[in-house]
Every structure is written in C-alpha cells, then in structure tokens.
Amino acid sequence: MILLENVTKSYRTRPALRGISAFVERGEFVFLTGPSGAGKSTLLRLLYRAEVPDSGRIVVSGHDLAAMRRRDVPFFRRRLGVVFQDFKLLRRRTVGENITFVLSLLNLPDKEQERRAYLALRHMGLQHRLSAYPEELSGGEQQRVATARALVQQPDLILADEPTGNLDPERSHELLELFKTINYQGTTVLVATHDRSLIEAHPARTLVLEKGQIVQDGWALGD
C-alpha cells in the first residue's frame, strides 16, 4: 500500500527527512511517532502529495507520487482519507456541507450525500451539529468533524496527523477504536501521534521517527 524508498526532504538547508525507507502492507494499522519536529507531518504531507520529495521514491496504492501528473493528484486524493492536525475545515460551510463537499466531488446524488454525512456524523456523536459552523464547535468537535469527513468517502487509506491532539483521553480512545474497526474492514490506517500512552493502549506496528530518520520499526516501543 505504501512504499518509501530512501526518501529525503529538506526545507531550505534544514533536512526534515533523511533517507527514509519503509513498507506498509494493504490493511495494516501503523502508528508513526516521534518527538515534535521529527518529520511526522512532513512524511504525511508527502504521502498525500501536498509536497514532493527531494529524492527517493514514494508509492501509494500503486501510484508513484513523484511521477504523478498534476491533473491526476485530485483523483488520487479522493481515494485517501486525511485527518489534518489543524482540522482544515471549510469555515464558511456548515458541518454538513463540509462533509458533503467531498461527496459532491464524486457526483453522488444529494440524498446519498446527506445520508452518508449523517451516518458519518452519528459515528462521531455529532449528528446534532449538522447545521453548525466550525467556529461554533470546540476543538474536539472540529477534530471529530474532520475525522468524519475523512471517513465518509470510505477511503482505501487513512492518514491521520495527531487526530487525538484536541480530544480528551476518553474520546481519544474511542477514536482509536473507530480507526481499528475501520482497519478490520480492510482499510489501511496510518496514525501520526506523539502520545505514547495511546500507542501503548492500542498496540500496533509503530514507526519511530527521530531527526528525520526511522530509528525503530516494530510492535514494542523502546525507551
């Protein structure tokens, strides 16, 4: 599902990723962890092709991202569910419209869009906030709306960047359980988090990034 081969990325002279190689199989659940500035968000941005690597090769769902034509990028992104660290909700649109927007790009009938949006929000316990605007929601609620938007199109791969950053511990574990459920249904899930307690509570393959390099890849977190 995801193949990284000797991927490097620098911002001006500051290296963010240094020769990363990894492979994630279809249907796997993987945590990506490491301290702030380790390169987790950069790696995710490369995976949803918001950026291109300086060198190396990235293949996601059979698409070589460096070689991908610009016009194919939107179609590739429609097959992904991305939960952004800063939510990236459309602030002029209601919660319902934020979710139906991705479905409208797929040209689904209005009724189907509304049905799916309602179900996704109900999954997140936010069905009563359908008509609210993002600014009327708490940080945790916005995070859950962003998650609902990522899940609603039933993607092949979910990339979540600190999805529990604004949630209380109970909600965080609920969200992780939801990701696990989706993963059991065959969706590949990659969650970037610096919350070690979360990883310990939901053991899964974990890639540990430090200073732009993968220093550990396995099921047990080292000290």
Partner: protein, 276 residues
C-alpha cells in the same frame, strides 16, 4: 454538475453588494449601447433614408427663367421631376415657415424674392444635377438635400463614434468590476481553496464556479439592459419616434454582458496561484 451549480450559487451569494454593482454597471453600459444602436437605426431609416429621391432646390432670377431651366433639366435628365414656382409663391412659403416674420415678409415686394425650382432627383444623380444647375447663368443658388444628409451623417457619425467608444469604455469598466469581485472572492477564499485541493477538488472544479459567477453577473446585467431597452423603445414609439425593434438585441446584449463578465472573471482568477 450539481456540485458546480451549488458552488456557483454560493459565489453569487457571496459576491453581495459588489456583485450587484457589477450587474447594474453592465445594465447601464448595455442600455446605453443599445439606445445608441436604436438612435442609429432611427437616423438611418428616417433622416438619412438613402432610398428616397434627393431634393434639389435652386433660386432662379425670374419665373420665366425658372420654367425654362426646368424644361431643360427634364430634357437632360429624364428621371428628374421638376417644378418651378413664382416669386409670390416663395414669399408665401417663407411667410409660412417663419410665421413670426410673416407680417414683414408678406408686406415686401414680390420682386425681392427669387423664383424657385424644385427637382426630385434619384439619389445617385443628385450631385450631377446640382452641378448642371450651378453651371447655368440664370441660377443663383443651388442646395441639395444629399449634401445636407451628408453633413448630417458626418456629424452623427462623430457623435455615435463617441457614444460607442463610451459604451466600450463602460463595458471595459464592467469587466474590471467583475475582475475585482472575483479577485476579492478568491482572496477571501484562498484558505478554503487550499483545503479543497487537499481533499480532492480539481482546478476546474475550483475555478469554474468563479468563472460562471462572473459570466452570470454579466448575463443578468445584460438581461436587465434589454428590459430597459424595451422600456425605452416603448416610450419612444409612444411619442411617435419610429425606432427599430429591440428583439435582435435581446440575444446579443446578454451574451455581450456574459462575455464581459467571463473575461473579467478570467482575469480575476489569474490571481489564484495553481497548486505547486
């Protein structure tokens, strides 16, 4: 398609007061241009009517000379219809034209007035007939309606040229207003546009609603312009001014408005950078 229609509605709604200004400007510009077109048609049909024969009027020294010149003229130009009037007729006609001077005019000796020769000449021969008359020693003055029409046409052409230039300038102004409307919308939405790209919207899906919004503003303005033109045409006709129908303009004007709007929107969208 549904997505596009929804997005266009949203952009139209968000264009708000500035969008309304753009619509009104397009309406004013197209009404102005259309009204000029109506005036131009009226001038061509009524004042310049080139299909009609030209009138040549010549002042001749005496009634006898006028009758003689008239005979000679119809002999040389068989298509010309000629009539001669006596000095008394000239005096009475002038008195009818200038009623406030009629007392003075009618009191004057008829010998103070020339005999007049009236000729109805096919338009193509007006210049030749005038030249023929001027060459006659008995004829003291020749005026020809074709020359007057020519002078009138020249003056009106200048006025219409200025009017149509103003229309083009107004339409360019409308384009600039639409450009600003779209640029403001794009600037205001720049963060949302970046998010839309990240969640899979294509450039086309992002840009087309703005383009359609600009074109629709122009189209609505043009349609409003046509409605105003119908009203103007109705008022003119009810005052006995036989202007041409507005119907041919009913399609052209809204399309022109839409084109101006679309052009403005295209230029406004130039400020939206493509995703790197």
């Amino acid at each position: 398609m549904r997505h596009g229609a929804r997005e266009v509605r949203r952009q139209l709604h968000e264009s708000g007061a500035t969008g309304l200004v753009a619509v009104l400007l397009v309406a004013v510009a197209t009404t102005w241009g259309g009204a000029l077109w109506l005036v131009r048609g009226w001038v061509a049909d009524t004042l310049l009517a080139r299909g009609r024969p030209a009138n040549v009027v010549a002042a001749v020294r005496s009634a006898e000379a006028a009758a003689m010149v008239c005979n000679a003229l119809t002999g040389s130009f068989p298509d010309v219809r000629c009539s001669a009037s006596r000095p008394e007729d000239t005096k009475e006609e002038l008195a009818r034209w200038f009623p406030e001077l009629s007392g003075v005019l009618l009191g004057l000796d008829a010998a103070s007035f020339p005999s007049l020769l009236h000729a109805e000449v096919p338009m193509a021969e007006a210049a030749r007939v005038s030249g023929w008359l001027r060459a006659r020693g008995e004829v003291t003055l020749v005026e020809n309606s074709r020359d007057w029409q020519g002078r009138l046409e020249k003056a009106l052409s200048s006025v219409l040229l200025i009017g149509f230039t103003l229309t083009v300038a107004l339409l360019a102004g409308c384009g600039v207003v639409v450009l600003l409307v779209v640029r403001l919308l794009v600037l205001e939405h720049s963060d949302e546009i970046a998010i839309m790209r990240l969640i899979g919207a294509r450039e086309r899906e992002i840009r087309l609603p703005y383009l359609a919004c600009g074109a629709l503003l122009g189209l609505v303005g043009g349609a409003l312009g046509v409605a105003l033109l119908f009203a103007i045409s109705f008022v003119l006709k009810s005052h006995g001014i036989p202007v041409r129908g507005v119907t041919p303009l009913a399609t052209v004007v809204p399309l022109l408005g839409a084109t101006v709007g679309a052009l403005g929107a295209t230029l406004g969208l130039a400020s939206l950078p493509e995703e790197p």
